[in-house]
């Protein structure tokens, strides 16, 4: 997917996992399911832990089941972008699958998530524990938490994409500045000044301003690119972009 040269313009590519997942090409379809799994496994896992109070083991099984159903039952075929957001549709599918399985008293424990990515359920458990330990940051409902996890995953994947992009472009300093100023390196610490960052990275303050602007510009594009992939329609994409980044379409 090509990145735009300048500005907060929307990615030119109109790639969406929805259209790819419905594709007749098995490779494209498989890649789309992989992308959905990578994006959604954590929100799904955490959601069922909270919403349906599943224990960790059952939540793992259910999460794997869910993505298998996504492929085998062609859940996505019934998704109509004009009727709602993709993630709301998926959350409804989760609830429906859970209720069906509960009714049948039959939970499939087939294992094996179709994604080729490593899925670390222990990591998700640690994150859940952190949330429980910080009740002030707890969302009002499991549905809200699902939304929040969706945003968190979107930004986390975009950060990773930015890192790879900066690495390949030989601009790792740009990423490190971004990480130092806008990200986790200084989490819960006072924000460093541009001057202190300039001294640390042996740059001028103007360079710090410009490098950070570059990284933020690239990061915005990465978020928009991921957003484009994970939304079901142009309208949804634009609405989410406005809400998350304050970006308005032309």
């Amino acid at each position: 997917m090509a990145l735009e040269a300048q500005g907060d313009v929307f990615p030119a590519t109109r790639y969406s996992v929805i259209s790819a997942a419905r594709s007749g090409d098995p490779t494209e379809r498989s890649q789309a399911i992989d992308a959905i799994t990578t994006f959604y496994w954590k929100p799904v896992y955490k959601y069922v832990r909270l919403r349906w109070s599943l224990d960790a083991e059952d939540a793992r099984d259910f999460t794997q089941d869910f993505f298998l159903h996504l492929i085998e039952k062609d859940f996505l075929e019934s998704y109509d972008p004009s009727k709602g957001r993709l993630r709301t549709f998926l959350r409804t599918c989760i609830d429906r699958l859970f209720l069906n399985q509960s009714r049948d008293a039959h939970r499939l424990k087939r294992g094996g998530v179709p994604a080729r990515q490593a899925i670390d359920f222990d990591e998700a458990e640690r994150e859940l524990s952190q949330m429980v330990q910080q009740p002030s940051s707890s969302p009002a409902s499991p549905e809200d938490y699902f939304e929040k996890e969706w945003v968190r995953t979107l930004f986390a994947l975009a950060v990773e994409q930015l890192r790879l992009h900066c690495e390949s472009a030989g601009k790792l300093v740009h990423f490190e500045l971004f990480a130092g100023y806008d990200l986790y390196l200084y989490d819960h610490q006072p924000k460093p000044s541009y001057a202190s960052l300039a001294a640390k990275f042996n740059l001028s303050v103007t360079d710090v301003t410009n490098y950070l602007a570059f990284a933020r510009r690239e990061f915005r594009r990465c978020v928009l690119q991921k957003l484009r992939e994970m939304t079901g329609s142009e309208e949804e994409f634009r609405r989410e972009a406005q809400s998350l980044l304050g970006v308005q379409p032309k």
Binding site: Q6, G7, E160, D187, T206, V247
Partner: protein, 340 residues
């Protein structure tokens, strides 16, 4: 994939919304406000080391109606050098193609956030709002979006009229805006600033377009009748602001004081008459009537009755009236007792 805490997530969301100021003399500090055309950011001018406000168009294009309107607003501000109008320092286009202008950062509160506690103070404030307006009118500029949210009272009590994005420029100043003016303190540092070409001038004041804020918008403005829009359009809005000042609850102590509000209602009604011809012909006239009310003089907009006139005169000359009355009573008592 690294997990992002809530703190980092919110920080990240805020920082990616920061404007792209690479290559400029400004550093974004924080978001201040969102308006119809764009966003306003608190920024630091790195060269002069001072806080400024940047108004940035949200769209990343230097062309089009909104960009032309922002450009026009900058030009209007540059031509209105008055203590009651926020001064502009700079204008240009950011690296991502978004037009912006830089203005003084006003620390204070808008009228819809805070009003003076007493009615006389509110009325004097209204008179001060009329001053920069009158100046703008004398330069052929009508604000067209006057409302409490666009009037700031600064940290030193100064009154500033903000947001001139909908200003209508009459033909007198229109010519001046097209000539390169040495007094124009705009420095387009980065990319060419979208100049207001004749085609750009049409949309903001085009006939049939409705621009403004309901409640403060005159009937001719609501109809989109641009031909009828002149300084009396701002008179209407000032009348609506007077009504707002009278409507917003006064503190208990102040409310217990007896004010005859009929003259003020009459001033507001006259200013807000549907027919522009029946309104005050200028904001100075409106302000003068408010001044007369404050001094206890009869006002133009209201025909008072005999009792009201007597009460007004009593209120204005209370000490003298009391002294005369006391003298008359003592005199009467003296005569009465001397006869006995």
């Amino acid at each position: 994939m690294r997990w992002l805490s809530d703190h980092v997530l919110s920080q990240l969301q805020a920082s990616v919304q920061l404007p792209d100021l690479a290559g400029t003399r400004y550093r974004a500090v924080r978001f201040l406000a969102r308006g119809g055309m764009g966003t306003v950011w608190l920024a630091e001018d790195a060269v002069l080391g001072r806080a400024v406000a940047l108004k940035i168009l949200e769209l990343d294009t230097a062309s089009g109606e909104l960009a032309a309107r922002l450009s026009r607003e900058a030009m209007v501000l540059a031509h209105l050098e008055h203590p009651g109008i926020v001064p502009i320092h700079d204008a240009g286009t950011l690296p991502d193609g978004k037009p912006f202008y830089c203005m003084k950062y006003v620390q204070g509160q808008s009228l819809d956030q805070s009003l003076p506690p007493t009615l006389p103070e509110r009325l004097r404030l209204l008179q001060r709002i009329a001053e920069p307006l009158a100046f703008a009118h004398s330069r052929g500029i009508v604000h067209r979006d006057l409302k409490p949210g666009n009037i700031m009272v600064g940290a030193f009590g100064e009154v500033l009229i903000m947001d001139w994005g909908l200003a209508k420029i009459t033909k007198i100043t229109e010519d001046a805006l097209h000539k390169p003016d040495t007094s124009l303190s705009i420095v387009a540092e980065h990319r060419p600033w979208p100049s207001p070409t004749p085609s750009d001038e049409v949309p903001p004041t085009a006939h049939g377009r409705i621009l403004g804020t309901p409640g403060y918008m005159s009937p001719e403005q609501a109809r989109g009748d641009s031909g009828l829009i002149d300084e009396r359009t701002d008179v209407y809005a000032l009348g609506a602001i007077l009504r707002f000042m009278m409507t917003v609850k006064l503190p208990k102590k102040e409310a217990s004081r007896a004010f005859n509000l009929r003259p003020l209602n009459a001033i507001s009604e006259k200013a807000m008459t549907a027919d522009p011809v029946q309104r005050y012909s200028s904001v100075q006239e409106l302000s003068a009537d408010v001044g007369r009310y404050l001094q206890g003089d009869p006002i133009v907009a209201y025909q008072e009755g005999v009792i009201e006139r007597a009460l007004r005169l009593y209120a204005r000359h209370r000490t003298a009236v009391v002294l005369v009355l006391a003298y008359l009573i003592m005199r009467a008592l003296f005569i009465l007792f001397s006869r006995q």
